[in-house]
């Protein structure tokens, strides 16, 4: 796929790709296959398309255990559970890193090799493209009439002058020129080529692709993602134990988190109250107070869905919201054993009909649990409660009470949104509906639960991705490079002049042209226009000529050898 030593080959010619069989190189005379050859061969293997595809497949394969086994990073509770249920197998899986697949050395090995493979493929290709962008046009072919586009006419100018005029016209059009060198000075021709930006575009695309890879790696290694649900009036600090979820990059530790603290002062959501879009949100506003470090000055900020807060190098996004009904629970002894807002999560039925659970593990004599539904604007439709509007205009909760063992005193950590009723018994036969301020008296003197009010909550995503901006820039550059290489044609024009048609009478000028890549068409018209332009320039020059004698014509810069001029034109062409 790559070969640095063959700059002459066309980078897009499949025939230019070398076979990847080992063979003695020039560095090993006598045919022995030395260490250098082995290394070269291994490198060629690594950077071949075949190995890149194998590595890509391996990467996909290696991710499979990550989705089949519980992972330490995202779900440490399930890992502990796995240890309990598979005491013999779990330590071995742990030794193989299967509980932390994406941070395991063997996983890192695969993606590092894939990265090396891609880099090893793109970098030499970049050099080749750079070389190809600097090459001169080829020498003019002998029979220009055989080219896809050609024209021929006779003028009354010496051949040398005719080529000179043509060179001037082509150079003025931004072509890069090539003139005969010392060996074939006897010939009068000029080669011209245009559209090198195509190669520059290609080069840009490849370099930008590499940039995207590096950016993604940067983000993956040094970035992190975290989530936190924050109830209005509460605060949190950006530290692992205060986050609900934390997904660090390979080189990120808990100490890399920015030490900010944040309080949700107020959250408002407005909804369209009439018309077709009734119930659709019209505005969100989360007013937060934050300090960048402990003891620092407190600042306020209004978080909105598309307006994240930048703090300590991280971005805090508002990604969701909901209602947290407030409950007070007293137990059989009359002790207040629960008094807090409890986040409920909106289901799919719309209008923020939300579900949640209340766990009271320290109620006496038995633990209490409640499953509940919060209805922001409740309407009784044939005996079932429905929410008709997302704002809390008529908030009610509907509760089912349980008593027994919540399963919280041993075993695995459990979700705060689920109630395991396996070891509990129902205290109420039907769901009990409570308005704000109403209480439900539990049977057998087990106590009461009171629905005291509600507050909103927001869910925040805290992300740090150092590769985001570079990836965006590289992505745009890659697109730009791709567009350049698609839209620009590389085309060549040759002009030959020779004495003729019969000796001593005039000069025959042949113009030939071809587009190397003419996917978008249009070269035919361009060539016709250019040939006409050359002819008129020649005729103009001929009429300005006093006689048809073979006097040396006044060149553009008299006395300069043709090759030097060509070099100059080449410079202009770039």
């Amino acid at each position: 796929m790559t070969d640095v030593r063959a700059p002459e080959t066309d980078p897009f010619d499949p025939a230019a790709e070398r076979d990847d069989q080992p063979r003695p190189g020039s560095s090993s005379p006598g045919g022995t296959f030395g260490l250098a050859d082995w290394l070269k061969w291994a490198w060629r293997q690594l950077t071949s398309m075949r190995i890149a595809l194998i590595l890509l497949f391996l990467l996909a394969l290696a991710s499979v255990p990550g989705s089949m086994l519980p992972q330490q990073g995202s779900n440490p509770a399930s890992v502990q559970q796995y240890y309990v249920s598979h005491p013999a197998l779990a330590p071995w899986l742990n030794r193989l890193g299967l509980f932390n697949v994406f941070a395991a050395p063997w996983f890192a090995a695969i993606y590092l090799l894939l990265f090396a493979s891609l880099v090893g493929c793109v970098v030499p290709r970049t050099f080749r493209l750079a070389g190809s962008a600097r090459t001169l046009p080829p020498r003019a072919p002998r029979h220009l009439a055989r080219l896809p586009r050609s024209a021929e006419y006779t003028i009354a100018l010496p051949p040398g002058d005719a080529v000179e005029v043509a060179a001037r016209v082509l150079s003025g059009r931004g072509f890069r020129l090539r003139r005969p060198d010392d060996a074939d000075l006897a010939q009068d021709w000029v080669s011209a080529e245009k559209g090198y930006l195509r190669e520059a575009g290609n080069l840009l695309f490849h370099l930008a692709l590499l940039g995207v890879l590096v950016s993604v790696a940067l983000g993956g290694l040094f970035g992190y993602k975290a989530d936190r649900l924050l109830v209005q009036g509460q605060s949190f600090a950006d530290t692992v134990s205060a986050l609900d979820e934390f997904h660090p990059g390979r080189f990120v530790t808990a100490a890399d988190l920015g030490p900010f603290t944040m309080t949700l002062n107020r959250f408002d959501a407005s909804y369209i109250s009439s018309g077709q879009q009734r119930g659709q949100p019209s505005a969100f506003d989360a007013r937060v107070t934050y300090t960048e470090q402990p003891g620092g000055p407190a600042r306020t900020f209004d978080l909105d869905v598309n307006r994240p807060l930048s703090v300590d190098g991280a971005k805090v996004y508002l990604i969701g919201h909901g209602y947290a009904p407030e409950f007070t629970v007293t137990d059989a002894r009359g002790h207040v054993v629960y008094n807090q807002p409890t986040p409920f999560v909106a289901g799919t039925s719309g209008n923020f009909l939300s579900e949640g659970v209340v766990k009271v593990p320290d109620a006496q004599p038995e633990q209490l649990g409640f499953t509940g539904v919060f209805v922001p604007t409740a309407v009784n439709v044939g005996g079932t409660l429905e929410s008709v509007f997302p704002a809390a205009d008529n908030p009610v909760v509907s509760l089912i009470a349980y008593a027994g063992n919540l399963g919280m005193d041993s075993g695995v950590p459990q979700s705060v949104y689920q109630l395991d009723t396996g070891a509990m018994h129902r205290l109420t036969t039907s769901p009990q509906v409570l308005q704000r301020g109403q209480s439900l008296k539990l049977p057998d003197g087990r106590g009461t639960i009171t629905f005291t009010g509600y507050v909103p909550w927001v869910s925040l995503a805290i992300t740090h991705d150092p590769g985001q901006l570079p990836a965006l820039i590289c992505g745009i550059a890659a697109l730009g490079g791709l567009l350049l290489s698609f839209m620009i044609r590389r085309r060549r024009v040759f002009v030959r002049a020779r004495v003729g048609p019969s000796t001593g009478i005039g000069t025959t000028v042949q113009v030939g042209g071809l587009a190397r890549t003419d996917a978008s068409g249009g070269f035919e018209a361009e060539f016709a226009e250019l040939a006409a332009r050359l002819r008129s320039a020649h005729e103009q020059a001929a009429s300005a000529q006093p006689s048809q004698s073979a006097q040396p014509p006044p060149p553009a810069q008299p006395g300069r050898p043709a090759q030097q001029q060509a070099a100059q034109h080449r410079h202009e062409g770039e």
Binding site: A42, W106, A109, L113, A237, A242, A254, P294, Y338, Q414
Partner: protein, 183 residues
């Protein structure tokens, strides 16, 4: 066949290189063999940050008043299943080590007073706890030791330095082993 051999070789080198990058820790010895209970050697003990906070019973508490004593600082919450598991262990160790002068202090994380007091009543916890609803105290300690979750238990020596830690559920043998080395 050759390709596979070379690939395996390169793979091995990369694995070893990435494996090495993760090792290396000075002054830390594990108590239980799996790095969740550790003792920091003298000279490698981070200074515990100071804090002033409100206890669950409503009085002010300054951590600096514990200077000169060995303190077991337990980060817990009534909502946290492993905290409920270790509560009776902590209560037992606290009762045993109170006569030699070891103090116990709880830091109640992301909790409410009502639930926390009910927890303390259930598990007969007699030592005080300060409320850390916003995790601000946890944040200060995380700058010194890698607290990755609740529960975490720290042992502070007489000079106010963090001498040992249990990351996760405390066992009787781990905690007493750390106290034996610090005491």
């Amino acid at each position: 066949m050759l390709a596979a051999a070379v690939l395996a070789g390169v793979l091995l080198i990369v694995v070893l290189a990435t494996g090495w990058a993760g090792s290396g820790n000075g002054g830390v010895t594990t108590v239980d063999g799996n790095a969740s209970a550790v003792v920091y050697a003298a000279g490698h003990r981070p200074l515990a940050p100071g804090f002033t906070a409100t206890t669950l019973t409503g009085s002010k508490l300054s951590f600096s008043s514990y200077r000169g004593k060995v303190v077991v600082l337990n980060f817990w919450g009534s909502w946290c299943v492993p905290c409920r598991e270790e509560a009776s262990t902590l209560a037992a160790v606290a009762a045993k080590y109170r006569p030699p002068g070891v103090s116990f202090l709880g830091v109640d994380v992301r909790d409410t007073t009502a639930s926390a007091l009910a927890f303390m009543h259930s598990f007969h916890v007699t030592y005080p706890s300060v409320s850390d609803q916003s995790s601000a105290i946890t944040l200060d300690f995380t700058a010194k030791v890698p607290i990755a979750g609740t529960p975490t238990t720290l042992v502070i020596d007489r000079t106010g330095h963090i001498a040992g830690a249990v990351f996760g559920t405390v066992t009787y043998s781990d905690l007493t082993a750390i106290l034996a080395k610090v005491g």
